[in-house]
Amino acid sequence: MEFALTIATIVAIYCILGLALNLQFGYTNLPNFGIAGFFAVGAYTSAILTVPHRFLEMEIFAGFPGGVPGRIEAPFIVGILAATALAGFIAFLIGVPVLRLREDYLAVASIGVAEAIHYIALNELWLTIGSAGIRLIPMPFANRILYFLLVLLVLAIVFYVINRLVRSPFGRIWRATREDETVTASLGKSVFRSRMWAWVIGCAFMGTAGSLWAHYAMAIQPGEFVPTTTFLVWIFVIVGGLRNNKGVLIGALLIIGLFEQGTRFLPAFGAPYVVPALRLIIIGVMLIIFIRFRPQGVIPERAMTIEKHIKTI
């Protein structure tokens, strides 16, 4: 039961990351390879703002000169909102120069940004405590079941907001931008503005996910926010069905739930590192199989008829 709850919570947090990536890459064709970076911004922002003074005292006792964490003691709601806003704001700053470039440059730039954020977390001790990470991050309700329900609520909100945006006239511009920038611009729509919003909204939600993760794990360290996280999200979004939000949820359940977390049940054999490595191999093979035989994913993008659209918009 405890284990199922753990998996469910982690899957739900990953779902938010996947929905955000789908918004950026699936609908607007912005390849974000810096997911881990924005996830980290959210996690650290929320952790630094909410961690109790007791943590600072422990660190000082252990010989640390002291810094920002532990001095603010803000409530969770402040932490998660600030995490969302800051991740979005950083995305905006990066987007100004980078979104005018072609997609491939954005892909490279986003990897660089994520690495920069990783190193900031590692080296700016006054802000992040460095490699030891931040501990004693409070979990709202101090109850795993209630916290899981909270994560689900946030996931539902994110799912609703992204779905609504994609279906709205605004989302049509996103998808038109994905198809052909020149045509979109020639129809009077600002391609830069449309891409910027997709970029900022997606990255902001990645920050939200980071905050949820920090308060769930109650301890974070720079080593968690590495490209592996980014690639896992990419993999389950592709497997689940790029451009289909329900597909993304199924992909997360499948890849994160079954393989990344579920395989912890695999009986240990051989050297201690064999099983964890096997897990990544299984995920990799699954990705290859999907790209080869079902590139549209478990659930592909579905067109809506105008009749249904008018009724339900």
């Binding site: 709205s168 020639s186 391609v191 993008e301 067109a303 008829t305 105008i306 659209h309 918009i313």
Partner: protein, 252 residues
């Protein structure tokens, strides 16, 4: 009649290639003006400059007396000038109805916050669809409204592109080979639509075309472009009788 679009000595070079080399033209309001010339004459480049896809190296482009040379394509479209493309660029992975509903200007739901003003978005979507549905019906595309644009025939895609352009509510439409790839019937239909839109909605057209029956039947005046420069201008009769034009274009 008033001039709606005026190009004055427009230059656009790509390295050593003089794509547009001091070209000038005037498009009268509510006219269907033709632009012809051999392949590589610079017609499409001129369209791209006029629509803001390229910046002119030199020269002025006035739309209703206002300088538009150097503006972005979306800004130029917002002012009332919309173009279509030589190779129909349908937004393939979107349905026909999504293609045409993309185009209307100043939709409330076009911003992340506006998308949540439910009542207004719903009302506007209904109104825009009424307009779009009527147009699609005239164009003979209504039955295909829920199809992906990529599944249409070449001629249908041309029709879709024109419909979409009209949905931006332009004052002038720049059509780059509107009948390329269309069948004989489709060509006739597109020609009839262009004339109808001019007569009923007071739209102005600037048309690049290679099919002589289109140009000579509906366009007046006709500009002839050669090596990026003006070669001739006149009504269809003048152009057909012009010796220089026949040499470079009509095949002697």
């Amino acid at each position: 009649m008033a001039t709606i679009l005026e190009a004055k000595e427009v230059y656009k070079y790509f390295g050593g290639i003089k794509a547009v080399d001091g070209f000038s033209m005037e498009v009268e309001n509510k006219s269907i003006t033709g632009l012809i010339g051999p392949n590589g004459a610079g017609k499409t480049t001129f369209f791209n400059v006029a629509a803001g896809i390229y910046q002119p190296d030199r020269g002025d482009i006035f739309f209703k007396g206002e300088q538009i040379g150097g503006l972005r394509p979306d800004q130029i479209c917002q002012k009332g000038l919309t173009r279509t493309f030589q190779i129909a660029r349908g937004l393939g992975e979107m349905t026909v109805w999504e293609n045409v509903m993309l185009a209307p200007k100043a939709q409330t739901g076009e911003s992340p916050f506006g998308a949540f003003i439910f009542k207004r978005v719903k009302k506007e979507e209904k109104e825009n669809w009424e307009k779009a549905a009527a147009l699609l019906q005239e164009m003979g595309l209504y039955e295909q409204r829920n199809e992906y644009a990529k599944n249409l025939s070449a001629g249908q895609r041309k029709m879709l592109e024109i419909t979409r352009a009209i949905m931006t509510d332009p004052e002038i439409l720049l059509l780059d080979e509107p009948t390329a790839g269309a069948t004989v019937d489709e060509t006739k239909k597109i020609m009839a639509e262009i004339e109808r839109l001019r007569d009923e909605k007071g739209l102005t057209f600037l048309v690049v075309e290679h099919k002589m029956e289109v140009i000579m039947n509906i366009c007046n005046p006709i500009y002839v472009m050669h090596n990026g420069q003006n070669l001739a201008v006149g009504d269809p009769k003048d152009i057909q009788g012009n010796k220089q034009v026949r040499e470079v274009y009509l095949g002697g």
